[in-house]
Every structure is written in structure tokens, then in C-alpha cells.
């Protein structure tokens, strides 16, 4: 992407004021988005973005400068801007030597060339499939999004990596209407892959799933406002894990003493049924990369092992602070952002119960078939997440739909309250936001049950 000499000169320039670490992150990204809405292909957007960010560490202070100009002069200016921010009279100058060349990420399976005509056709297939579900389907929006992010990272420790990350996602949102009631459904599978992913996850299935959710919820009555057991369908527990404890195990919050999990490594905080991991290496998964955004190879990190807290997620700066290696969780949205510890593909692993037995052994509760996103306050551990498709469980059977339910709970308490973990498994894909940065993440889990949780419906 950029000449080795220029990279080396830029790093050396960034170190001139005595920084202990310097890094160059260069990105060139091309994206295509095609949107079908209201029965029509509304727009096709093709774009390119490129830029470079130069970062230095001085003690625990980071200075960062970024620009979209990749010529040697602009990189030098950015390096000086970063360097001057940490000047304290230090005159230590260490020369960086990058003669060994970059480590390339393992090549992904070659992406077949898919024509725009085919992509447009996929959108129509999703639209047709959604509308075929029921006459109440009123509106369908489908967005095809693909991107190719070419990243080069080099630092003063001699790490130098280069990686191409193709990503693909098809997202469908459906509105169903009956009388005065309007309900929505959505589905959005994604992958670290090229467009050929949509041959394995046909757009028609995505449209149909979204439509079925919207139509099912038309029959929903208002959800209760009460505490009761909650059974989460496969994947849903992953979203819960992400919000209930994942963010609190990101090392920046822990080190800032802003996490409820600070100082609790080695303690049994979750139910013994819970083993939870973050794994940035799952082949082709939406949250996977070969290297994180700081040139550290991605990793599988066990966070909870049989209920005991055993691991945290680190980026380089926070790993330095704790004197441990980075776990490869330093991620950034783009060159315009500082890396911070982030989840990749996080999951609660499958147990041995049969999913049908989990429901059958619940006399009265809520079955959350699909969840929206959530949000956590990491310092209290209190979190919420939305139930997009929910049903009441009565006498061990899934019964009528309920709508308008958000679930609220406290991370450690909810993890301790998981009393059944099934042997199935599912994964949901999303964009996780933290500190104003969105990155692709996946959340996986089997069917599981929380013994007691607050349902925030309107029926008090």
C-alpha cells in the first residue's frame, strides 16, 4: 500500500519526541450499498475511503493524528502532529527497522465475481419472499452492503501486517399492518466473506424470516411488567452475554475502575453452566479478522470457565498497563478512530439440556425468540435489551405473542441466574457501538434460561 521506506520514515518521525511506541495504520476501503425500499431499487451507492492514522504512546498517554492524504509529506505532517503532542523534553531516538517486510494475513477463499445485476436480483428475491408471507406485509426494505477493507499496520516494535477484509451483509426490515397495529421484523446475516456468502444464506430466507417476525407480532398483546423466568432462543443468549458482561470485561473499563467486574478475576460469578468466550478467529464469521487493528493476531479468549471469571479482553495499551500480552481485541471503526478493547465473536458455549426440555420445564415465563440490541451501564452492570419477537410460556408450552417488552437486569446477577443451557447453538450479527465507534460483532449462544428477570412491558 505504502512504500516500506515511507512507513519506516514515518515511524521514526513519530518517535522523535521520545515516545515509547509508534504505529502507522493505513486503510483503503471500498464499499457498495444497494437499497430496495417501497418495492423499488432506490439507489446504488459506491464509495471509497482511505486514510492513515499515526499513533504514539508516551507513558499512558496516546497521541493520534489522522488524515486522508497518504503522500509522504502528509504522513510526515501527521507523524509530527502526533509526536509534538507528547513532547516532554525526552530525546531518546530509537530507529525502527522494517526490512523484514509485512506478515500477510492468510488468504481468504477467493471471492467469485458477482455482477451488480445479480445483486439487484437478490434484493428482489428477498422483497418477493417477504411479501409472499402474508397479505399484512405492507413495507419491505432490503439493504445489500459489501465492503473490502485493505489494512496495513506497522509499529516501532517491528510488527508489520497487511490484511484484506471483505465483509458482506444483507439486512431486511419488514413492516406488517393490520387495522391500527403496525409491527416490524428484521433479519440481517453477515460474514467476513465476499458476495458468494449469499448463495449459502439465500436472500429469500432472510426476507421471509423478517416478514414472519413482523406478522407474528401483529397478534401480540402487551407484554407484562413483572419478574419471571426468561428463555432465550439460540443466539439471544449471546446478545445477553455481550451486554450483561462482555463490555464490563473490556480492559479499558476494568482499568479505569469503571467496571463492576474490576478485581474479580478468579471469582465464580456466573452459574456453573456458563462457559463464555470471545473468539476473533472463527473462520468467516462477521466479527473475525486475522489481525486486530493493532497488528496483534486475533485470539480465542475464555472469559468465563464453568462460571469462574478467568479472562479479560485487551488491546495493546491496556495490556501494557497490566503487563500481559494483548488478546487481539484492539479494534477501531476506521483510520479516524483510536483502537479500544472490543469484542469480536462472543458466545456462551452449548450445554447438554435439550432445548424443548428447557421450555417444557418452565411453568410460566417469557420466550424471547428474537432480540434487538441492548445497552449496558458497565459501572453498575445494569443492562437492557429489546425483545423483538416474544411469546409467553404457560405450563411449559410456548403460547401467544407479546410485544413491547424490554428486558432489564444486572450483569453478574443474571449470569448467576442462568439455570438451563441447551445443546443447540445460534449466532446473531450486529454492529456494536462504544465510544462513538461501530464495529461488526457476532453473538452466539444455545437456548438458555434465566431463572428470574424483569420484563419491562406495559401491562402492570
Amino acid at each position: 500500500m505504502i512504500d516500506a521506506q515511507v512507513v519506516q520514515d514515518t515511524l521514526n518521525r513519530a518517535l522523535t519526541t521520545g515516545a515509547r511506541f509508534a504505529e502507522v495504520f493505513v486503510e483503503d476501503r471500498s464499499s457498495t450499498a444497494i437499497r430496495l425500499d417501497d418495492g423499488k431499487i432506490e439507489e446504488v451507492v459506491a464509495g471509497g475511503d482511505r486514510g492513515a492514522g499515526i499513533r504514539v504512546f508516551h507513558g499512558e498517554t496516546q497521541a493520534y493524528a489522522y488524515t486522508n492524504r497518504l503522500d509522504p509529506g502528509s504522513l510526515e505532517e501527521a507523524a509530527l502532529a502526533a509526536a509534538s503532542a507528547v513532547r516532554d523534553g525526552g530525546d531518546r531516538v530509537e530507529m525502527v527497522d522494517l526490512r523484514s517486510g509485512p506478515s500477510a494475513a492468510p488468504e481468504l477463499p477467493a471471492s467469485t465475481d458477482v455482477s451488480r445485476t445479480q445483486k439487484v436480483e437478490w434484493l428482489r428475491e428477498a422483497d418477493d419472499a417477504a411479501r409472499a408471507v402474508d397479505a399484512t406485509v405492507r413495507q419491505v426494505m432490503v439493504v445489500y452492503g459489501e465492503s473490502r477493507q485493505h489494512v496495513m499496520i506497522a509499529n516501532s516494535m517491528g510488527d508489520w501486517t497487511e490484511e484484506v477484509r471483505p465483509r458482506i451483509r444483507l439486512f431486511a426490515q419488514v413492516v406488517a399492518v393490520r387495522d391500527d397495529v403496525m409491527q416490524t421484523g428484521f433479519e440481517g446475516p453477515g460474514a467476513l466473506a465476499g458476495p458468494e456468502f449469499l448463495r449459502r444464506r439465500p436472500p429469500s430466507a432472510t426476507g421471509e424470516v423478517a416478514a414472519r417476525m413482523a406478522v407474528a407480532m401483529l397478534d401480540g398483546r402487551p407484554a407484562p411488567a413483572a419478574r419471571m423466568p426468561v428463555v432465550l432462543a439460540p443466539g439471544g443468549g449471546g446478545i445477553l452475554f455481550h451486554e450483561a458482561c462482555g463490555h464490563g470485561l473490556e480492559a479499558d473499563l476494568v482499568q479505569h475502575d469503571a467496571s463492576i467486574f474490576r478485581g474479580r478475576l478468579g471469582e465464580t460469578l456466573a452459574s456453573p453452566l456458563v462457559t463464555g468466550v470471545d473468539d476473533g478467529t472463527v473462520p468467516g464469521e462477521w466479527g473475525t479478522n486475522a489481525f486486530d487493528d493493532e497488528a496483534t493476531p486475533t485470539h480465542r479468549t475464555v472469559l468465563f470457565d464453568g462460571g469462574t471469571l478467568v479472562g479479560l479482553m485487551y488491546d495493546r495499551l491496556r495490556a501494557d498497563g497490566d503487563g500481559v500480552p494483548s488478546t487481539g481485541n484492539g479494534r477501531r471503526q476506521s483510520y479516524a478512530h483510536l483502537p479500544i478493547p472490543r469484542m469480536t465473536n462472543s458466545a456462551i458455549l452449548a450445554g447438554d439440556a435439550r432445548p424443548e426440555d428447557v421450555v417444557a420445564s418452565t411453568p410460566h415465563g417469557l420466550y424471547a425468540k428474537a432480540l434487538g440490541g441492548g445497552q449496558v451501564n458497565p459501572s453498575t452492570g445494569d443492562f437492557v435489551f429489546g425483545v423483538a419477537e416474544g411469546y409467553m410460556i404457560e405450563q411449559g408450552k410456548i403460547t401467544g405473542a407479546v410485544r413491547g417488552a424490554n428486558l432489564i437486569g444486572n450483569g453478574p446477577q443474571i449470569l448467576a441466574g442462568i439455570d438451563a443451557v441447551a445443546d443447540d447453538f445460534g449466532v446473531r450479527h450486529g454492529i456494536c457501538g462504544k465510544d462513538g465507534q461501530g464495529v461488526p460483532v457476532s453473538n452466539g449462544s444455545p437456548t438458555l434460561r434465566i431463572a428470574d428477570m424483569t420484563i419491562g412491558g406495559t401491562d402492570a
Binding site: N68, I408, G456
Partner: protein, 454 residues
């Protein structure tokens, strides 16, 4: 990273795109760029200092009613020609729609005070020292608050130029400066967080001290909170919480949502949608408003739109496309996050008209109620399409006309229309928040909502 003499201006880039138009083609270019500095401090030290200079161009073509769009970061003039080509090729795949038209771009009256040259001259050292003072103010405001999750002082100089085959170029520049802090209160091993911010056009006008005190107070007053019982109760919404609800309502007031069957208000113009105490206005030229600009993101002059008048729905927000399809002019509410996005519909400065009661007077009228300080999970728990919401909340009990003990781990649920019609009092303390535009509300008392806890 100063302006480089060899680099084309944003207006030059736009003009080049327009020149590349072929006969009969509509071509529009939006160029945005700026400089940005962000200083984050914690524990008396600079945690990070980020400085940036970026620019980009987005080109929209309208060819026989078909829209194509292409964008690039910091393109050269030749690369702008290639962008027009890429947008042209994209248009071939879109379906024609007679309402896809480019608006006539006329010179709009500038807004005074939007740009402050003095802000461009503030040295980084002063931003750093202000950030450190800001954090000190937060951690010395309350005995239970000894640290922050982070405190930040940031500023941006932004420039926008737009030109099309229907006019321009038009251009403006602006300066913005902001302070934000999440204070952490601790007592007996319990932690609570309180967020506050301040916005201004320049550092000299930035009132960061009240923000520092406010964040500390908001964190500390939540310590020792308990989960409430589930019941229906009157709710007092803090201006921030009221704004969160208004941001969901804003989605339902978008002309695009209305046209595409995604607004519960679609068929209600002229009807009562809320309490007579409610008047809702979008004002793109509000003096001092953070959402103010002389023209919107497709070059249409901004203006003032009455959306709800004494509880009666009067209309919706439009860009050129949604306006044309609804048989009305654009309200000057075309919005895009930056050059990478096709213009949608966004509020500019959207707010409830303030009433006459202070927040304290509203508390005295509330009876037994719940005061909601912050809401969480808005993106998953509230829908502008169905109008339903159930969000996590922190807050305090209202009893005896004042704030009482804190509440945590509760949800507040209702529907947008129920909340709007249940509004009993609108306070005088209107405050704007940056939430997908600049959205503002005062303290609001709502008759009844469902609180879920134990």
C-alpha cells in the same frame, strides 16, 4: 496540517463534478471537510489527544429519474470526474422515480456567528489545560465523586460546499466546541455514572463548569438506588430523557417514514396527537442552535416548520424528494451524516416550545411519581414505526413535591401517542441535545406510564 496551496477548494471540487454532467443529466456534488481536535483526560493525565484533517466528496446523479451515488475521500479534480462516472453507472441499476429531482440551489442568507475565527486560533495546549481543569472540576464537585470514566474537550472546524446542475456553488463554514464528562460516584463498593456536556461555537463561550458539577451531581444522587415495584405512575422526564423520547418521535415526523408506511402519524395531519400543552417546532436557523446552517445538505435554504401546534399535528419534515412526492416544498431538512451518504430527512433544531413552570414547580405538581434521569436501550427498545417503547431507566422517586430516593434497574414503557396525549406540564427549562440533529425538550410531566421493576 494547514491548507495546502496546491489542493483544490471544496467549491472547486463541486464545480468540477457539475462540469462533467452530460446533457440532460442532473449532477450534484457535496464536499465536506474540516479539522478536529479531541482531548480526553482521566486521573489528572491526558489519556489521548487526537488531531485530524479530512475531506471528501459525494456525487449524486439523477438520470431519467434514476439516482446513482458515489463518494471518495480527498479526491483530486481528475478523481472527481471518475466519481461522476461511477455515480452514472450506479444510476443505471436504480429504478426511475419522477420525484427524483435536484433542488434549485440559491444563495441563502448567511447565519451570523456560525463560524468563529478565534476558535481556529486556539492552541492545542489551551484545549489540554481546559480539559484537565474540567476533570478537576468534576472530581471536586461532590464528596462521593473522585473519578471520571473520561472527560473530554473537543472542537471542529467544518466546511461544506454544494453545487449542482441546478445552481450553486454555495458554501459555509462553522466552528463547534464541546465538553463532555462521565463522572463516577462511589460509596460502599457501589458505582454510579452521571453524564453531562456543554456545547458552544468557541472555547471562550463553553460553559464547562456547570457540566462538570452536573455530571457529579447526577452520578452521586443515584447511589443507593433500589428497584421499584412494577406499577403505573406519573413520570417526570428530565430534559435529556424527554429529548430521548422526542428523538424517537422525530423518526415518525420524517416525510420519508410517512411516505413509506413507517410512521404511526402518517394519516393524522390536522388531528390531535397530543396534549394542548405541546407545540413542536423545527427551526434550521435558530440563533446559536447546534443544528443551524444557512442551507440543508442538498443546498435548500433552511427554515422554521411548525409540526405540532397545541397538540394538533400540522405536518412533517421534508427534503426535496419527499416533498415532491407529497406535493409540497422541501422544508430544508435534507440531512446526511457526511459526504458518504445520500441525503435523507433529518431534524435541524427540533424542540418542544417551553412552558412557564420551572422544573421545581413541576415536581411540586407531580404528586407521587417517578423522575427519569437517563434512559438506555433506546435503539432496541423504542420504535418510531410501531410507536411502542420500553426502555431502561435510572431516576428518583418524586414525593412531597421534591426528588427523593434513587431508583435503578427499572424500565419505563408506553406508546408515543399515549405519552404525547398524557403530557400534563411542559417546563420552561428547554435544553438541546445532539441526538441525530439537535433535539431539545424541557422537563415534562406525563400523566402515567408503566414502570417495571420487581
Amino acid at each position: 496540517m494547514s491548507e495546502n496551496a496546491g489542493v483544490p477548494s471544496l467549491a472547486d471540487l463541486c464545480a468540477r463534478a457539475v462540469r462533467a454532467a452530460r446533457t440532460g443529466e442532473g449532477v450534484e456534488a457535496y464536499a465536506g471537510g474540516g479539522r478536529h481536535v479531541d482531548v480526553r483526560v482521566r486521573a489528572g493525565r491526558v489519556e489521548s489527544l487526537t488531531s485530524a484533517e479530512t475531506r471528501g466528496v459525494g456525487v449524486r446523479t439523477v438520470i431519467d429519474g434514476r439516482v446513482g451515488y458515489a463518494y471518495a475521500a480527498d479526491p483530486s479534480l481528475d478523481e472527481v470526474d471518475a466519481l461522476v462516472d461511477a455515480a452514472r453507472q450506479s444510476a443505471a441499476f436504480a429504478e426511475p422515480d419522477e420525484f427524483n429531482v435536484l433542488p434549485a440551489i440559491e444563495q441563502a442568507e448567511p447565519l451570523s456567528g456560525l463560524y468563529r475565527e478565534t476558535q481556529e486560533l486556539v492552541p492545542a495546549e489551551r484545549k489540554v489545560s481546559t480539559a484537565l481543569e474540567f476533570e478537576r472540576a468534576a472530581v471536586s464537585a461532590h464528596p462521593d465523586v473522585r473519578k471520571v470514566r473520561s472527560a473530554s474537550i473537543a472542537d471542529a472546524v467544518s466546511r461544506v460546499a454544494i453545487a449542482s446542475t441546478s445552481g450553486g456553488p454555495v458554501a459555509y463554514e462553522r466552528t463547534d466546541c464541546w465538553a463532555s464528562v462521565s463522572a463516577i460516584a462511589e460509596r460502599d463498593g457501589e458505582m454510579q455514572m452521571g453524564f453531562e456536556f456543554a456545547l458552544a461555537r468557541e472555547l471562550d463561550d463553553l460553559e464547562w463548569e456547570p457540566a462538570a458539577r452536573g455530571a457529579a451531581e447526577r452520578a452521586a444522587r443515584l447511589l443507593g438506588g433500589e428497584q421499584p415495584k412494577s406499577e403505573r405512575l406519573p413520570v417526570v422526564l428530565d430534559p435529556g430523557a424527554a429529548t430521548a423520547f422526542l428523538s424517537v418521535l422525530a423518526g415518525a415526523l420524517s416525510g420519508e417514514a410517512v411516505l413509506k408506511g413507517r410512521s404511526p402519524l402518517a394519516s393524522m395531519v390536522g388531528q390531535s396527537v397530543g396534549s394542548p400543552a405541546l407545540t413542536l417546532i423545527d427551526d434550521g436557523r435558530l440563533p446559536g442552535g447546534t443544528g443551524s446552517a444557512p442551507f440543508d445538505d442538498e443546498g435548500v435554504k433552511t427554515g422554521r416548520t411548525l409540526l405540532v401546534e397545541a397538540g394538533v399535528l400540522r405536518g412533517f419534515l421534508h427534503n426535496t424528494y419527499t416533498g415532491a412526492r407529497s406535493g409540497r416544498p422541501s422544508t430544508g431538512n435534507a440531512g446526511r451524516s457526511d459526504h458518504r451518504s445520500v441525503p435523507g430527512v433529518s431534524p435541524s433544531n427540533l424542540s418542544f416550545e417551553p412552558g412557564t413552570l420551572s422544573a421545581e414547580e413541576i415536581l411540586r405538581q407531580a404528586g407521587r411519581a417517578v423522575y427519569v434521569q437517563d434512559v438506555t436501550g433506546l435503539h432496541s427498545g423504542a420504535s418510531s414505526i410501531t410507536g411502542e417503547f420500553s426502555v431502561g431507566a435510572t431516576g428518583l422517586v418524586v414525593e412531597g413535591g421534591a426528588l427523593g430516593r434513587p431508583l435503578r434497574e427499572m424500565t419505563v414503557a408506553s406508546t408515543l401517542l399515549e405519552v404525547l396525549s398524557g403530557v400534563r406540564e411542559v417546563g420552561s427549562d428547554l435544553r438541546f441535545f445532539p441526538m441525530g440533529g439537535s433535539i431539545g425538550a424541557p422537563t415534562i410531566l406525563v400523566g402515567e406510564m408503566t414502570i417495571a421493576g420487581t
